[in-house]
Amino acid sequence: MSPTLRIAFRFLTAKKRAMLMSLSCIILGVGLFIVTQATTSGFEDYFIKTILGTNGAIRIEDKIQETMRTLAAKGATGDSSFMIAQREGRKYVEGIEEPKQVISALKEFDNVAAVSEVLHGPAMMRSSFKGESVRAYGINLEDHLRVSDLRQQIVEGSLEDFRSSPSGALIGKVISERLLLSVGDWFILEASDKTGRQSRRYRVSAIYETGVADIDRSRVYLNMSECRSLLRKPTGASFIQVSLFEKDRAPQDALRIEDVIHYSARSWQEREKSWLEVFRALRFSTAITVSVFILIAGLAMFNTLAMMVMEKTKDIAILRSMGYTRQDISRVFLWQAAIVLVIGTVVGMALGALVTYSVSQVRISIRGIFATDTFIVAWSLWHYVAAVLTAVIMVMVASLVPSRRAARLEPGDVIRGTAQ
């Protein structure tokens, strides 16, 4: 053990009460930092999982058709011509005209895991109880299961019934409650277009719950062929839902897809920007709030060490007279901060993990942007690293001032009694 560490340790144990105060602040600060990050990140991660499980990583829909103009050029070696896009002549095309071709092109992208074409349109859903406006979604079940968490979202009934029965339908939990529908019940969907209105009967194969209130209230899944008949759209698709191997690459992939297939491609980050910003702001604000605890720990450490430097001026002088350098004196005080910091961060991390686990067991029912019956937490090493780094920076910076002051003391002044 180095002489300075030995002295630091002895000084530290002699000032137990003051050091325990600093230690408590560090433990609380680190622990709370971890817990708040775990809970806010937990909800954010779960929200992202929910939106990926319902609307996919990328949605391809609608087309902006460029009008190209040919320009001729005459040069010394001969005539040539080139094409330029003309902004004024751009044409908006709703939906996807040739979904099979687009799907085929999409499968060439290395990050694309699966694709599913979806057709949707407005409809009136009527049960024996009452009617509600909904949107009919036509899907190819196997394709759609690969780009969504629909299988995990089923809360009643089975997908098997939907797969085997052309008149089967998957309805959301909210609409089922509003229309008093259960699995096996029949209902009517009415859709109208320019040629007139038509209605068809469907049976509830299963009830799903995504937790996203809008979806659970309005989305009725039908088999694709049934939906085409209902909406009278024999070809085309409303959009194509894409799942990715690496979800975080969605914005870059969406841009590349737009360039290649000339359809609008929106990543989940772009679609859910508002909510994601809310979560980000929440995470920052809680981190700042909790950092105040760690700041207090730093101030407590500053106070304790500053007091100790004042009390130990004679010890500092005698150490200097024995040949201890200014750096040695500084180290004596920095070691004390480091010892308290190490104990504080280790215990703080343990406390953070324990409280995070306890919070994850708390029963709480949340519906609206996702569905959960327990508090959601995220277990991430980075929360612990960030908490420890924040504590290290604040406590060590706070300790530098008194330790430097101790190192600057002139032993002659101290012994003479004129030290400032």
């Binding site: 024995m322 200014r326 002139e410």
Partner: protein, 229 residues
């Protein structure tokens, strides 16, 4: 450069030192010159405020002179950098102060080992052996593991002497080492210090108000108004 004899452990020439600032600035030392030979005991005496302790701290490299030179074992130290002065203090100089200045959180043994740990020339076991030997020499062999707070004033001063001798310095500087002790303990501490220092050929310079102690030194240098008289 003045000629330095091997026998001279410490020499200072024409030392000036001002203390305080502005109108309160005082010319404390007014051109003091002094030298100390190994194995000799010097007493600096004089009235309070004549500059005795100021001179001692300058000789111990705890303070810097405004002008003049200080040589320690043939090396000019008065204008050297802080690191060199600190190293010289650790290796060549032992201090004994009036108020002991023991580190209260540590035992007598640990206090004596403190300078040895910094110098790092001995193994931990050798340090313990030497510290025990020194404490034995000062009559505290039975109290090596007592905290400084559990020792009397006289015992604390004896621990301070053992600590000053720990690194076998060539110079012992003592600022009124008996000033806080009764007559019996004063005599004991002085005898101890001079005996141990003479045995190992160390120069002892002590500042004292005690005429009896001063009278038993090899050389007495009275000071008045910042000068030896």
């Amino acid at each position: 450069m003045p000629e330095i004899s091997d026998n001279i452990a410490l020499r200072c020439t024409d030392i000036h030192r001002y203390l305080g600032q502005g109108e309160g600035r005082v010319h404390v030392l007014r051109g003091v010159s002094f030298e100390a030979k190994r194995g000799e005991v010097y007493a600096i005496v004089g009235p309070s405020g004549c500059g005795k302790s100021t001179l001692l701290y300058l000789l111990g490299l705890l303070d810097r002179p405004d002008s003049g030179e200080i040589w320690i074992n043939g090396h000019l130290m008065s204008n050297s950098v802080d690191e060199a002065r600190t190293a010289a203090r650790g290796e060549h100089i032992g201090f004994v102060f009036q108020f002991h200045f023991l580190m209260l959180e540590f035992t007598a043994l640990e206090n004596v080992m403190m300078p040895m740990r910094k110098l790092g020339k001995l193994t931990p076991a050798q340090m313990v052996d030497r510290a025990k030997m020194l404490l034995n020499d000062v009559g505290l062999g039975e109290k090596t593991h007592r905290l400084a707070t559990q020792l009397s004033g006289g015992e604390q001063q004896r621990v301070a002497i053992a600590r000053a001798l720990a690194n076998q310095p060539s110079i012992i500087l003592a600022d009124e080492p008996t000033g806080n002790l009764d007559v019996k303990n004063s005599a004991l501490v002085f005898d101890l210090m001079t005996r141990l220092a003479k045995e190992s050929g160390q120069a002892i310079i002590l500042v004292t108000h005690n005429p009896e102690i001063a009278g038993r030194c090899d050389s007495v240098r009275p000071m008045r108004d910042g000068l030896f008289v």
